[in-house]
């Protein structure tokens, strides 16, 4: 059972970090399927906790070849752009979203859609909490659609990426989710 978001936000940063539920490779290999019928409105998804350092930011810049200095050049960030520090990339945050939805729907569900905004500047030293909560569910074309509220909060409860998502889970006795995914006609 995941730690509730509200409870996490009442904890000290190091306690939040200890509640990290990001799976390792074996956890993803052995992930058991969550079915549509297992999910209820109000359920919270596991919390992925991150502690970004300047080295993490540099690694992301290098991986995607994003050379914008605000992400790795502290002097430039402070004195040119007047930022509070080097900044966590929006591109990293938006890549965590499909990863998070993929992991939750593995092995046979599908992380279909997400919509979100980038708010707040995140900096090394922040503790970041990727979270999700079920807001509604419905069946269509023998597939189970789950609507989620999602976001990435800091340890202080500041929401840096408010959004929503739609994922697809199989019905217990239903057919496989089509792959490549084919959304139902409206």
């Amino acid at each position: 059972m995941t730690t509730l978001l509200d409870d996490l936000l009442n904890m000290e940063p190091e306690e939040i970090w200890r509640r990290n539920e990001r799976p390792d490779a074996d956890g993803l290999r052995d992930k058991t399927q969550i079915y549509y019928g297992d999910v209820n409105e109000g359920d919270e998804l596991p919390k992925y906790i991150y502690k970004p350092t300047p080295t993490h930011l540099f690694r992301w810049s290098a991986a995607i070849e994003n050379f914008h200095r605000i992400h790795y050049d502290l002097d430039f960030g402070l004195n040119h752009d007047r930022n509070p520090s080097i900044l966590v990339h929006g591109s990293w945050k938006q890549s965590v979203v499909p990863q998070y939805l993929k992991d939750w729907t593995l092995p046979n569900g599908w992380p279909w859609q997400a919509r979100f905004e980038h708010r707040a500047m995140l900096v090394p030293g922040d503790i970041l909490i990727m979270w999700g909560r079920v807001t509604s569910k419905y069946e269509k074309n023998q597939m189970g659609f789950i609507e989620l509220e999602i976001g990435m909060k800091t340890q202080d409860g500041i929401e840096s990426m408010p959004g929503t998502a739609t994922v697809v889970l199989p019905l217990k006795d239903g057919p496989p989710i089509p792959y490549p995914f084919v959304p139902p006609a409206d």
């Binding site: 046979n108 919509r115 995914f181």
Partner: protein, 184 residues
């Protein structure tokens, strides 16, 4: 004295940009395991479906997959025949932000507006299939929506949405991304 209403931001010229598409671009190179390794490690996604060949064959995908929107970054790699835009950026401006004026293939023509301040207004992702190692990636940008809104002071501004579709050599759509910006 009567105050004049500010001119509309959504002029006929701006509205005409809705649906305008860029060129179809074939990305440089292919989806490769080394790019994927660096990307997934930087993302901190240790999924064995990305790197354990035997395990990947036992999954519903039957092969290694790659992270869902990785292609959106891979596709914007600077091509080796594009010169050295970083050095050029700093020659042009020693205080360059590191991006300079790198021209990306497939860019859309600018929206004809005098509103120059740009703010991020949100993103959307639609996922259809995971890219495979060896895939050739194609993409195309288009202005999918432009709307006018009024600020608190009654001044109109624009919300411009740029959509990018990514697909592979078999014409399978992999993902669609939409990035909306506010122009004030």
């Amino acid at each position: 004295m009567t105050q004049q209403a500010p001119p509309p931001a959504l002029t006929p010229e701006v509205q005409a940009m809705i649906g305008v598409s860029g060129d179809v671009v074939e990305s440089w190179g292919v989806v490769d395991g080394e790019y994927m390794r660096r990307f997934s490690q930087a993302l901190m996604d240790p999924d064995p479906r990305y790197w354990d060949d035997d395990f990947a064959k036992s999954t519903r995908y039957g092969e290694l997959i790659t992270p869902p929107i990785m292609v959106s970054y891979l596709a914007s790699r600077i091509r080796p025949d594009q010169g050295d835009p970083i050095t050029a950026a700093f020659e042009e401006n020693p205080e360059s932000d590191g991006i300079g004026s790198v021209e990306r293939p497939g860019e859309l023509p600018p929206v004809p507006t005098n509103l120059v301040r740009v703010l991020n207004a949100g993103n959307e992702l639609e996922l259809y299939a995971y890219p495979s190692i060896g895939d050739t990636i194609f993409f195309q940008n288009r202005y999918s929506d432009i709307r006018e809104r009024l600020g608190r002071d009654g001044t109109p501004f624009l919300i411009i949405t740029r959509e990018t579709r990514y697909w592979n050599q078999d014409d399978v759509t992999l993902c669609i991304t939409r990035a909306s910006t506010i122009r004030r």
